[in-house]
Symmetry: C2
Subunit: 152 residues, 2 copies
DNA sequence: CTGATTGCAAAAGATTTGCAACTAT
DNA sequence: ATAGTTGCAAATCTTTTGCAATCAG
């Protein structure tokens, strides 16, 4: 599975895509951001730190290629921009607290029992990773209504 | 619970909001659309059929008032516009087939077991109704890749 | 009368697209 | 050489906002 910058680059080349500086930079950022929730524009920001300019449209086009190859996925945490994950790091669901904005990653099997029921009852196989589940911490750390990261 | 045009109008008035023609028309459309998935612009369309013009911004502002009053909710089925439901008609989750675009309504308790686990394990209470769960029909009716209602 | 509400136009934010210039192969 | 890529600017789409005109109470 593609995890390092080089592996990601190789995956592109093997699929017949050209390896450009921009794509290499995007691979580097994704490989260096284990477990993070990066939007397309976050990626531009991080590449900017490390190198010259990179256009947002190029990032979207490249991420789209990676999604076609199954190497990464995007997820929506709320009303904000989509966030991107390498595939092997997105084998989890996202819970987002509507009060404080924190995102919790939970293992796929946390919902497996219900998903199995849904498949049996409704003939529907959830992928379950594309949208976050919104809710609230039972005991939300942000008891003070200070900086509610309003993503929804 | 507010279900009819008149009940919706009354709820507005009781909460101190003024009852305008536009709001009455929106109430009418919502009351007449049991179980449907209506976007703000669908509402404009339906009102248009029955009366004069109605601005989209007015619809958004009115729907916002109704959400504050807890009378209706909006849900996201995919990348498209949000859809609106009267509250008593949204006590269910939405499953959307990524191939054919059909939306299935499933009872809240279809996910209750898992949600209870999540609360116990992660101290997080899902609301679970704000985003659809994407997936696929086991035996998708749209075997022909004809009109995949591409909402995602 | 007076403040709430409307329509219109413009803004905002995320994502997509057309196209000429550029570059990996 | 040539087809794939890029950057830029403009377009799209949904939702929000400013503001003067209008209307409900």
């Amino acid at each position: 599975m593609a995890e390092t910058e080089q592996e990601l680059v190789d995956a592109l080349r093997e699929a017949g895509y050209r390896v450009t500086l921009q794509r290499r930079l995007i691979c580097r950022v994704m490989a260096k951001a284990p477990g993070e929730h990066l939007s397309a524009s976050d990626i531009v920001g991080r590449v900017g730190e490390a190198a010259g300019a990179l256009d947002l449209s190029t990032v979207y086009r490249t991420l789209e290629v990676f999604e076609e190859l199954g190497i990464l996925h995007h997820v929506h945490l709320g009303h904000g921009p989509g966030i991107y994950h390498l595939s092997e790091r997105s084998d989890h669901h996202h819970l987002m607290c509507e009060r404080c904005g924190e995102v919790l990653d939970v293992p796929l099997d946390a919902l497996e029992a219900s998903f199995t029921d849904i498949t049996r009852t409704f003939g529907f196989v959830p992928d379950g990773i594309h949208f976050a589940i919104l809710g609230r911490h039972v005991d939300c750390p942000s008891s003070d209504p200070g900086a509610p990261t309003d993503r929804e």
